[in-house]
Amino acid sequence: MSAPAQAPATRRRSRSRTWIGWSFILPNFLGFAALTLIPVIASLALSFLDWDSYSTPRWVGLDNFERMIHNDNFWTALRNTAYYAVGHVPLTLAAALGFAVLLNQKLKGVRFFRTALFFPYITSLVAVAVVWNMLLSPDLGPVNQFLRAIGIDNPPGWTTSTTWAMPAVIVASVWRDLGYYMILYLAGLQTIPAELYEAAEVDGATGWQRFRYITLPGLRPTTFFVLIMLTISSFKVFDLIQVMTEGGPGRATLVLSQVIYREGIVQGRFGYSSAVSMVLFVIVLTITIVQFRLQKRNET
């Protein structure tokens, strides 16, 4: 605590700090490194190899990437994934934030609403797919019956139309994920000291001003987390699309994870599949680093 001999003490302190830091991280890191980090690195390394999951891998350099650049499926999937992310991320973020703020109030029945909004996330995916497809069914679905009733003669075919399948999937996914991110926001809201709001109220701040100048800044670390998790999960989206459209009709909702899945585990071209994951990895990491930097700049 006191520092008579400057230089060695600082060095000692920095060394002991490194040790302390690692000691916190280590219990988690051991499990993480052995079973996640190493397999991930191995799978990324596979992108320079030709491997069928069994025979000895063969070094092929950039061949997998070259094949990818000339592959129509890859570009279609990349475009679709970006489309999905651009729709899914802002909508889910706004909805989750809005409902978290609303449901953090003392309202009657608020416990019920919070539980209700979390339900889509825990409802079985099979039921979700069945109900959404039923609601959006082109001929008999209630949505299109309603649209016809208000005078729209040719309502969209939703999951059976190449134009409307992706919007339908995005709406279903926002609906499903909203409660999940709402929970994170609710936890984040608890860190904002109530005194700040009380002081603002004394100063006569409006509801919007309180939201803008107290809630939003207070939620910044949570928003950073939600934004990164949302970005990553929308670039990795798989389950919901698999049960709703299986990438169809045609390739209208084909996304990168499906390409990775089909090429790898189904077709046994693990090198190529890893090359696609590598692209996904680089895209997401770039976005994350940019967001990381922006957050750091905001902090200082």
């Binding site: 993480f32 109900v131 904002i192």
Partner: protein, 272 residues
């Protein structure tokens, strides 16, 4: 006056949305009380003609549901406990201790989240098989208990806790571990609760992990059991929905119990 109008509007919005959100669940419950042939009637019948509560009895005879539930509970509880413990511990290192290489290590954590599981499940399986852990619950525990998700979530939360608090404790002679245990942990109950809830739900609902790693029927989880039931008797929709409803109930209980931890509710209402 405007306040009561706003309050009324908020209620209309919330009620409308809750209805929209609960429709698939309502369909699930209503189907679980029907006969198989009635499930897909056109137009949709929301209230069954006759309530077949017997579905909820029969399913226990058709499927070893108790075994599956026990396995699911064991896995979810163990994984959640380990994830919360090691995740919050590691997060302290990332959020409150400055040391060289920390940010790179953190990026490595986030980087792994960015790689889809489909891409590395085979290398991971090879490691597990070499360790002789395939077809054990331990394999799934090791796989899911140390995920980067928990570390990341807790780190973000710790960042919002002012450093002055730990500085003061340090002056009082508390070690870093003491600060974590006595100052930071109690303050982060809301985040711990939400991490626990989300981890529990994800483990509970996981299908692909148990499918790849568990072969022995005695080790199966509820999701695996349900999916295999769907595969075997794909026309028994009512029974499938009965199983789905039963599998959601434990999560519902946990959610209701945990709610008070991640939402204390702000004393002053923004809608006043």
């Amino acid at each position: 006056m405007t306040a009561s109008v706003r309050r009324a509007l908020a209620y209309v919005l919330l009620v409308g949305l809750s209805v929209a959100v609960l429709v698939p669940f309502a369909w699930m419950v209503s189907s679980s009380l029907k006969l198989d042939a009635e499930v897909f009637s056109v137009p949709v019948r929301w209230i069954p003609v006759e309530f077949h509560w017997s579905n909820f009895v029969t399913i226990w005879e058709r499927v070893p549901l108790l075994t599956y539930l026990r396995n699911s509970v064991f896995l979810s509880v163990t994984i959640t406990a380990l994830q919360v413990l090691t995740g919050s511990f590691a997060a302290y290192g990332f959020a409150k201790v400055r040391f060289p290489g920390r940010d790179v290590l953190f990026l490595a954590y986030i980087g792994t989240i960015a790689v889809p599981w489909q891409a590395y499940m085979v290398p991971q399986y090879v490691i597990m098989e070499k360790a002789g852990l395939v077809n054990t619950h331990l394999s799934l525990i090791l796989l899911q208990a140390f995920s980067a998700f928990g570390v990341f979530l807790m780190r973000q939360y710790y960042l919002t806790i002012p450093d002055e608090l730990s500085e003061a404790a340090r002056l009082d002679g508390l070690s870093e571990y003491g600060i974590w245990a006595r100052i930071i942990l109690p303050l982060s109950k809301p985040a711990l609760a939400s991490l626990a809830l989300l981890t529990f739900v994800n483990t509970w609902n996981d299908y692909m992990g148990p499918f790849i790693y568990l072969t022995d029927n005695k080790l199966w989880t509820i999701q695996l059991g349900l999916r295999s039931f769907v595969g075997l008797y794909d026309a028994e929709y009512a029974m499938i929905m009965t199983g789905s409803v039963l599998s959601v109930l434990p999560i519902l209980v946990i959610f209701l119990l945990g709610q008070k931890y991640f939402v204390r509710g702000i004393a002053t209402s923004g809608l006043k």
